[in-house]
Symmetry: C2
Subunit: 280 residues, 2 copies
């Protein structure tokens, strides 16, 4: 496994690759969710490149950026075990040299859901992904469904800007109690970690109601909120039922719906989502 | 010469090319300035691709967009004569399908000079150039120094977003009386066309003063304004002396300076510029 830290070096490696390149951009603190992306890439592509870069512009605050979990040594061990070909670990100044000031913005869908709570977040995401795609020039890039809106923003960007990369979305990996795998889970203490299983229980309430024929979003949303309120450590940020592509409000579930939520547990912000499909 | 109008078709052609690709994005109404770019590309690159697309988002108004000169038949004849390999002439909906909403913004330098008069202009330029680069995947792209700020914005974008394209800047071509070649010159009537030579005369005043040792920008600027005011058909929009890279104000010319101006003659807006180099 080749670990490189400069743009020049990874480009050199890239030029030497025959066949398809699978790319997984990460912010490190790797978990099984990331490894599911890696394994999907290993199945599809000749060569797999993983990047590890904690991208400051997509954080809401210096504090959130500073405390984001980092463990490069462990990340590299995990990737070594997966027989990854190249890991790109650039320092911040390699990606954002002094005077950097060009930004990619996917309007509209960046403003919904997470965008309301985190203005500028998806501009940071779209910009780093554009840069990494231009540096790596992958055939395919892999993202987790857990960050549903991120997947939509990146897919829209790829379509709108004619970026020649195929986006592969991999289903959310969950812990035994249903909690979606996320690097931020590491920030939870034991009691908070226990409480965090309520997110998936609330999503399961939605799935069960929908399976039993409920199509009224308000009714499902209220039941989810009641479920979440059973957990005193949880502060709800949003619970939304929207169209799965444009994130428009969907009062009646007559097509594929994205059920998404964001909560705070202590000082940790967690998100999760499921898709509901219309009855056939 | 192969004229193609869909993204799929030009990508197919692109995949078949061995060797370097030179790309000249244009809005048509080709003149010798464009042909100088084409000839430079022919000298450097194995295959040359020209695009013709009047890019609505970079226009300030529907009216300006509507009256922009168009003559596809003549453009194709000129390119045929230059033995161009491929011409990409997409219809508007191929580039901006319904729902398109992703934009590239080079902040700061997009706000100076032209950006003040034409908010959104360079966002339109940066976005279309990003799209065309992603579609064509050229080795080199060619732009005219006549649009000095456009060159800066695109070069900054290429650097900031790690776009793998070399930008080649070709000196401004001028008519016998010094008027910079521009598609918009076609919109001038005979009397206006005559008046338009004042732009280059004003720039020549700057060059001569600088050659004689004047380094005070205000002094040069005043002399240029006096020169322009001799022409009653001219309305001055701006006359600026800035750094050539960041477009910061440059009160004393102690490094390379960009002397740029924008005027209206009748209803036609014209721009021009020269570079002044510091004494050795």
């Amino acid at each position: 496994m080749d670990v490189v830290s400069t743009i020049t070096a990874i480009r050199d490696k890239r030029r030497g690759i025959m066949g398809s390149v699978g790319f997984i951009p990460t912010m490190g603190a790797l978990h099984d969710g990331h490894l599911a992306l890696v394994r999907e890439a290993k199945r599809n592509d000749t060569v797999v490149i993983v990047s590890i870069f904690v991208n400051q512009p997509q954080f809401d605050s210096q504090q959130d950026f500073a405390r984001y979990p980092r463990d490069l040594k462990r990340d590299l061990e995990l990737l070594e075990r997966e027989k990854i070909d190249f890991v790109f670990v650039p320092p911040c100044e390699e990606i954002y040299p002094a005077g950097f000031n060009t930004w990619v913005e996917v309007k509209q869908i960046s403003k919904e859901l997470e965008g309301r709570a985190r203005p500028g977040h998806f501009c940071g995401v779209a910009t780093i992904v554009t840069k990494l795609f231009n540096i790596i020039q992958p055939t395919r890039a892999y993202f987790g469904q857990k960050d549903a809106q991120q997947v939509l923003v990146i897919s829209k960007m790829v379509t709108d800007l004619n970026i020649d990369v195929e986006i592969i979305v991999v289903p959310t990996l969950r812990e035994a109690d249903g909690l979606a795998m996320s690097s931020r889970n590491l920030l939870l203490n034991a009691r908070e970690r226990q409480a965090a299983s309520i997110l998936y229980r609330a999503l399961t309430v939605a799935r069960q109601m929908h399976n039993r024929g409920t199509v009224d979003s308000a009714e499902i949303r209220n039941a989810m909120i009641s479920c979440l309120k059973q957990e005193p450590l949880v502060t709800i940020e949003y619970v939304e039922i929207t169209t799965a592509d444009t994130l428009d409000e969907l009062p009646i579930i007559d097509r594929t719906a994205l059920v998404s939520l964001a909560v705070r547990i202590g000082s940790v912000r967690l998100i999760d989502n499921i898709l509901l499909y219309p009855p056939k």
